[in-house]
C-alpha cells in the first residue's frame, strides 16, 4: 500500500509537486496522467525513496520512508519493480548481463542457473536470440521488453511501476508492451503507470490520476474521467475520441 500524505517536492526553486495526497493499494491498476514536467516521474522516484519530499509523508505498507537509510530502503525497494523511461538498460552490459544484473546482486544462483533463468525470461518476450546483443543494438520496443524482464528477474514485486512505458514506440510495439504489463499483473499485482498517452492508460488502468501544474487535480475511475470538466483532461480525451 502506498500512501502520499500532503507531499510537496521541488527541484531547487521550481515546485514539482504541491500538497499531493493519495492512497494506492498493491492490487490496483493506476495510471498517472499529466503533461511533461508535471511531476509524474517524481512520484515514482519518491515512492522508491530515490528522492526525499520537502514536506509531507510517504508511507509504504504503513511505514514512513522519510528517515530510512539507503540500506533500509533496499528492503522497501524489493516490494516494487520499476521500469524507467526508455528502459534505462546499462549501456556497458549485454542484454543477458542486464537481465542477470539483479540475480547476481540479490541471489546466490550459480552461473548456470542464472543463464537458464535469463533464457526463460527472455523467451517469454521473444528475445532469447538477442541475449548477446548490446542495448545500443536494440530497437525501442526490444529495449522496453528487456527492461521489464530485468525488473522482474531478481525479486517478486508486490507492485509494478512503469515510467512512460510506451512513449516513443509505434502502435504495434506499444500494444506488445501493454499486453506484457497486463500479463505481469495477472496474479493480482497492481501497477502504477505514468504516461501521457491516454490511449494506453485506458487500455491498462482502472483508476486514473491527473497532475496539472504540480497538483493532483483528478483521482477517479474511467467513468468519472470521461465526465471530467477539467479542460486539460478534455484535451487528453479528445485524442482518445480520435482513435
Amino acid at each position: 500500500m502506498i500512501e502520499f500524505d500532503h507531499v510537496s517536492f521541488s527541484y531547487g526553486a521550481r515546485p514539482v509537486l504541491e500538497d499531493v495526497s493519495f492512497l494506492v493499494h498493491a492490487d490496483e491498476r493506476v495510471a498517472i496522467l499529466g503533461g511533461s514536467g508535471d511531476g509524474k516521474t517524481t512520484i515514482l522516484k519518491l515512492i522508491l525513496g530515490l528522492l526525499k519530499p520537502d514536506s509531507g509523508k510517504i508511507l509504504i505498507d504503513g511505514e514512513d520512508i522519510e528517515d530510512k537509510t539507503e540500506d533500509d530502503l533496499k528492503e522497501i525497494r524489493t516490494k516494487f519493480s520499476i521500469v524507467f523511461q526508455e528502459g534505462a538498460l546499462f549501456d556497458s552490459l549485454s542484454v543477458k548481463e542486464n537481465v542477470a544484473f539483479g540475480l547476481r546482486e540479490y541471489t546466490k544462483m550459480s552461473e548456470r542457473e542464472i543463464d537458464q533463468k535469463v533464457r526463460v525470461l527472455l523467451r517469454k518476450v521473444g528475445l532469447e536470440e538477442a541475449m548477446e546483443l548490446m542495448p545500443e543494438q536494440l530497437s525501442g520496443g526490444m529495449h522496453r521488453r528487456v527492461a521489464i524482464m530485468r525488473s522482474v528477474a531478481a525479486f517478486e514485486p508486490k507492485m509494478f511501476l512503469y515510467d512512460e512505458p510506451t512513449t516513443g514506440l509505434d502502435p504495434v510495439n506499444a500494444d506488445i508492451i501493454c499486453k506484457l504489463i497486463l500479463d505481469l499483473s495477472q496474479h493480482g499485482n497492481g501497477f502504477i503507470v505514468v504516461t501521457h498517452k491516454i490511449f494506453d492508460a485506458v487500455k491498462l488502468a482502472k483508476r486514473f490520476m491527473f497532475l496539472r501544474n504540480s497538483t493532483m487535480v483528478f483521482d477517479g475511475n474511467m467513468e468519472k474521467l470521461l465526465h471530467s470538466s477539467i479542460p486539460e483532461i478534455q484535451i487528453f480525451l479528445r485524442e482518445l475520441n480520435l482513435t
Binding site: K45, L48, L50, E70, K74, R77, T78, F80, I82, F84, Q85, E86, A88, L89, F90, D91, S92, F101, G102, E105, Y106, A154, D163
Partner: protein
Amino acid sequence: MKRLKELFSNLQDFYLLSIQGLLNVGRRPFYFKDLIEQMDYAGAGSLIIILLVSLFIGMALSLQLSAELSRVGMKMYTGKVVGVSIIREIGPVLTALVFAGRVGSGMASELGSMVLGHQVDSLRVFGVDPVKKLVCPRILSAIVMLPVLTIIGDAISLLGGYLIAVFVSHQSGAVYWSSIRDVFVYENVLAGSVKPFIFGYLIACISCYTGLSTKGGAIGLRRTTTKAVVISFITIIVSDFILTRILLYVLGFSV
C-alpha cells in the same frame, strides 16, 4: 548569498563523495570487472596520446635549452636541466593534464549520461551503491594508471630530449645520459612520483562528482564535461604549486 550557499553545499557534497570514494575502495563488494575496464580505458587507452605529447614536449624542451645554454657555453648541462624539469615538474603535470582532458572528461560524460538515462537510479533500485560501483573503480584506476603513464611519459620525454641533444644540438649521447643518471636521485624521483597519485585522485573525484551531479539533458551533459575538464586543469596546476612547495620543504631544498 544564494549562490554562495549553493557553492558551499556543492563543496560539501564533493568532499563527501571524495572521502566515501576513497574509503569504500577497500570495502566489499569489489567490482573487479569494472576496475579492469576502467584501468584499460584510463591506461591502455591513453598510452598513444601520452607517448606523442611527451615525445614532442621533451624535444621542444631540449631544443629550447640547447639554444639558450649554448649561448653561455653550458650546452653540456642540457641533459641535467631537461631531466630535472621532466622528472620533477613537466612530466607529472603534463601527463595529468592530458589524462584530465581524455579520461576525466570521459568519466564525467559517461556518468552524466547514466544519470540522465536513469541508470544510476536503476543501480540504487537494485540495491547497488553507485559510489562503490561507479566511483571507486574510477578513483582506483586513476590512482594506479596515472603514475604508470607518468613514468612512461617521462621516459619518452627524456628520449625526445636525447634525440634533439644528439642529432640537432650535436652533443654527446653518453654525456646526456650520464647527466640524466645524475638526476635520478631519491629527492627528484620522490618529488616527481608523489604528484601523479594525488593528481589521479583529484581528477577522478572531480570528474565523478561533476558527472553524478549532471542535470538538464544534452546541454547539461555538455556543461558537465566542460566543467570537469576546466576544474581538473585548474586544480592540477594549483595543487602542483602547493605540492612543489611542500615537497621542496620536506626534501630539504633551499629556494
